[in-house]
Symmetry: C2
């Protein structure tokens, strides 16, 4: 899609103006830059975050970073990895603190590739994105700020947004015409204020937090673990960091305090003295103090994420909450990702502009869940700590899966399970809409959502190992299509002997002129290099075919119809053992809940969430159902006329 960048009427016309180069702005910018959009990206800071701020990358976010090819650059900084959380409390008798339990931060019942939280200073994470942006020709313009904007689609349907930008010292100004404006400016959003969008406070309680990064010398045994410590002298949260650092969070004041003052503060020395008291009988001394900050924070959520679907907000501009669950950066990433691919689908001509209307409900609902969770999580920490045997029982019961749930779980177990899924990022889901099929979706067919499917539209595709046929490489199936803005069509093809005709029929129907697939064929399809792996025919789809067979038994030339075989690097054998389905013969099929003989087709949105699951059947039913699904949000009428030919 690289040609996009040249298609603007003048040098002051852009696809998008992005304000703020924190996690949300950088993720949006990085995606759109890779997909060929022309971006003006400003930030009012002279440099990326030098110290402190957010630092927790959750397991699912690491999957996302890997899918973008950025994980190794992050890991090269040798971040700390949190596998377990420890609870420390006053002993039943006597003084001081004792460890009362630990739990896994991402227990094995969650099928995570990276079952740990990655902790790294936000500035280093920002720099990984900035380096990638520079490779794609985007420089963050610093220190610049936004002074005003207007949006009028009637006056200028193509570039409705006008934005006034200014150097922070007022020495330079620019006026930009853009298709979109994005506010990723953090909690104090100028754009949100200008739009007069209010903030709703979910929980009326506000807090003042102190946060301190530094290097310490201590005999406290869990200094390299995430810890929640309650003592008679107060409470503290310990989070390990890269380079032998540790972060301490201390709650300085709460609006429930009798003498609450939101401007209450504390010096670094006071917080250090407080930490020393709380950690008794252990000692703690600071060798170096890297960063210290006190900030009041309440739970807030923006009433709207956009008014006109041209000017959007995301990240902390839309939701604020306590730092305890380490969700801020992760939620910001997903806000940006959700918006990025939708803008791309609309601007590249694939999706109806109404698609953009799904951004706010999808992401606002996640933010609401985050805030409720933040409350529950806070209570879970501040109330009686869970006993070790309870944690073990919860973990074991959760590992048992669906069945146990029906038998009923106690409050602690369900909160534990939900909290693990949520904090890992694997629990984030989107509700039913045009993208996420449900029984009320326009696509209605007996082949949609086959019985026993474990996949749920709006939730992530299950992780699964498979063997790539052409080179016998063992790969992570969910990572095989890079974050290229395309829908991912996973054709689970079952047994070749069973599905041969169904596969041929699917390919034949996809090849029809008005199918979802060919309606958006590349104009240059006949000149595409044979090395192109992901988008040989269309920029809107990448197709993977997975057989329930051993790799040497799959012969692409014999078993795969030409249209699918064109993606020869995306043909796989489902022949790897998986501990989550130890008795399955074809584990990837089994994890999706698809028949190991008959297979099924899974549509995955560009951001990795399942859109729809369709049975793989002979005749046109499978392709018809896919036409129905994509037809509900794309720009062209699909299928029907051709189906009669």
């Amino acid at each position: 899609m690289a040609a996009q960048a040249d298609r603007h009427p003048s040098s002051s016309h852009y696809d998008i103006v992005i304000v703020g180069a924190g996690p949300v702005g950088l993720m949006l910018s990085t995606c759109l830059a890779r997909w060929g959009y022309k971006i003006k990206h400003i930030d009012n800071r002279a440099e990326p975050t030098p110290t402190g701020r957010a630092d927790g990358i959750q397991p699912r976010s690491l999957d996302l970073l890997r899918n973008m090819g950025l994980k190794s650059a992050i890991m090269a900084h040798k971040p700390a990895r949190v596998y377990e959380v420890a609870f420390w409390d006053p002993p039943k008798t006597g003084n001081g603190i004792v460890r009362t339990g630990t739990w896994a931060s991402c227990p094995s019942f969650i099928d995570a590739r990276y079952p740990f939280t990655t902790l790294l200073h936000q500035g280093l994470i920002e720099r990984v994105f900035i380096a990638d942006l520079e490779e794609n020709g985007v420089q963050i313009q610093r220190p610049w700020t936004i002074k005003g904007f207007t949006s009028n689609e009637k006056e200028n349907p193509e570039y409705p947004v006008t934005v006034d930008l200014e150097h922070v010292d007022g020495t330079d100004k620019e006026t930009i015409k853009a298709k979109y404006l994005f506010g990723g400016e953090g909690a104090r959003s100028f754009i949100r204020d200008q739009l007069k969008i209010g903030i709703k406070h979910k929980d009326p309680i506000a807090y003042v937090w102190g946060v301190m990064d530094g290097v310490v010398e201590t005999d406290f045994p869990d200094i390299k673990m995430k810890c929640t410590i309650h003592s008679e002298h107060g409470s503290i949260m310990v989070i390990p960091r890269e380079n032998n650092m540790v972060r301490l969070y201390i709650q300085i004041a709460s609006s429930t305090d009798p003498d609450f003052n939101p401007r209450k503060t504390a010096t670094a020395e006071e917080v250090q003295a407080s930490a020393k008291r709380i950690l008794q009988p252990y000692s703690i001394e600071w060798e170096r103090l890297e960063w210290y900050s006190v900030y009041p924070i309440g739970q807030g959520i923006s009433d709207k994420y956009t008014l006109d679907h041209r000017v959007f907000l995301g990240g902390d501009a839309c939701h604020t909450h306590s730092p305890k669950a380490g969700q801020g950066m992760n939620t910001a990433f997903l806000d940006a990702l959700n918006l990025a691919w939708k803008i791309h689908a609309v601007e590249a001509g694939f999706a109806n502009r109404k698609l953009l209307e799904t951004y706010e409900p999808e992401r606002k609902d996640v933010a609401e869940t985050l805030l409720s969770f933040d409350n529950k999580y806070a209570k879970l920490f501040s109330q009686r700590p869970p006993a070790a045997n309870e944690v073990a029982a919860a973990s074991a019961q959760a590992a048992g899966g669906q069945k146990k749930e029906e038998e009923g779980e106690n409050q602690f177990i369900s909160t534990f399970k939900e909290s693990c899924e949520f904090t890992s990022g694997y629990g984030v889901f989107y509700k039913a809409n045009a993208l996420n099929w449900s029984p009320s979706h326009p696509a209605q067919s007996h082949v949609v959502h086959p019985k026993n499917t474990k996949l749920i539209p709006g939730r992530l595709l299950a992780n699964a190992d498979v063997t790539r046929v052409v080179d016998a490489n063992v790969v992570h199936l969910e990572q095989e299509v890079p974050l290229n803005g395309s829908f991912r069509l996973f054709v689970f093809a079952g047994k070749p002997s069973v599905t041969a005709q169904a596969l041929r029929d699917l390919a034949a129907n996809m090849a029809k002129k008005n199918s979802f697939y060919m309606a958006y064929a590349r104009a240059d399809a006949d000149r595409v290099s044979h090395h192109e792996r992901h988008n040989p025919h269309s920029h809107f789809f990448t197709v993977c075919t997975v057989f329930a067979a051993a790799r040497p038994d799959v012969e692409i030339a014999r078993d795969v119809p030409a249209l699918l075989a064109r993606y020869r690097d995306h043909v796989y054998a489902d022949d790897r053992w998986d501990r989550h389905v130890p008795d399955a013969k074809a584990c990837a099929h089994a994890k999706m809940g698809l028949d190991e003989d008959k297979g099924g087709v899974v549509v995955v949105r560009p951001d990795g969430y399942v859109g729809i699951v369709v049975g793989l059947q002979e005749g046109s039913a499978t392709a018809d159902a896919l036409n129905g699904y994509f037809g509900s949000f794309c720009t062209k009428k699909l299928g029907e006329t051709q189906a009669q030919l």
Copy 2:
């Protein structure tokens, strides 16, 4: 050891002169630079290898690169990964070629972390080392060459080697005094010639090979696999490469040909035409030819690797063989590693100078094995291809382990198994000597080599997952100590309740003044930062303690004596499941063949090979045995005198 670099009498005095910046020279240089030695490193090429040459990194070499922190830089180049080898032969009837079988290049019976061969252009690999060298202050001096050298220990016991170096165009000269000289100049070694060291030809047959790297368009289905193709038109070997490239090896002539001429050659066009004939009925067209070379090669092995243990040879200067098994670079790495840590042990004052005498026998024996293997491997490829069921049977039987061997294996199975172990690098082993304990070793004690131990001195430590106690990180135990030149002492501590006294006794005996451990204590031990993880007390040892217990049940302050607890980042819980020992409770203990209750102590050489295994017993027997082991090659008298105190 960084202080070493400043301890030379003049700027023209060096610890070592290294000639040749290919894999062997770079590995040696990189190790010694990290350990603080002053290095003069020259190469007669103006630039690193621009194209072609060696490109295969075997599974065990990737472990080594990871241990050096260089793996991610290698993998960032997106090398090809070979998991399987395919065999193509003429069909029983008709023309052309058919696939007659495939086998895993590193089958699951080998407990490899990375069960594939990594293929990347040698120049990119060299650059990863060069970047690391530059971080440690070493620049390769190019294009410079060696003009002559002398070595006279009597005349100058400290810097016995004098080396004359010259810019290749003769415009500049230098004379260097050094402790050592290393020739890593490849098959045509000036240093070897000057020393008048001959080459023995193991196999009298010589070959002329053509090798071609390029990008092709083909319908041959296995172009991304390693393939051996025999046809009526000749034979070819296919090896996938990074960036859609493929390497083809074609044997142009053999000394068994009636009209053999070692100077026989072929043009790139002739080789391409030949490849087209061999691949019929498949088509192949070249889009780009990156590199083409023809070279005669015979199997040769240098009579000596050194004459005086000051001037050493390694890599292709010592052994040449066919490129088919992809062993060249891997053998070069291990030559260099073997020599590097021994030079370090001697120069840092730990080991007796006689230690250097183990370099030649250890590495020459491996080269002999490589050459025999190269012959067998060539025959395995050139004879009747193994049937798929034979490969499956061999793999299954091999997976069964020891017992099946006793039942007898056929020739094919044993060659298959041996070849997989050898090509993966996991089969390389060193014979008994002072470093590799055997019943004839001076260290004799009833606690040495406990019954049931699966570890064999001279072979690699088994790979095992464990949980680090301080931060609950799941880690690869064998990777926990970086390649720091230190011996690695793995104290498998069994059950804390059983071994408490034995651990205390071991620590107490290690703490004695003349123990192997304290005899080489750091002079600055009381000023070492508490963040120092690997060498708090001594530069010659890093100690890891592994309990057969669940992580939350290990309390360092309670269970680990202070001397061992000083390595708090090296205390582990052996609580991870392992598919190779599915029924074990403590899998790492089980994989080593150590008692899950009583444990045992494993000494691992700085290069990862097991030195000795000793039982963990109450009293002084364990430490006495270790004193005996180290006393056999170190500079001081250990143990006895103190044992009486």
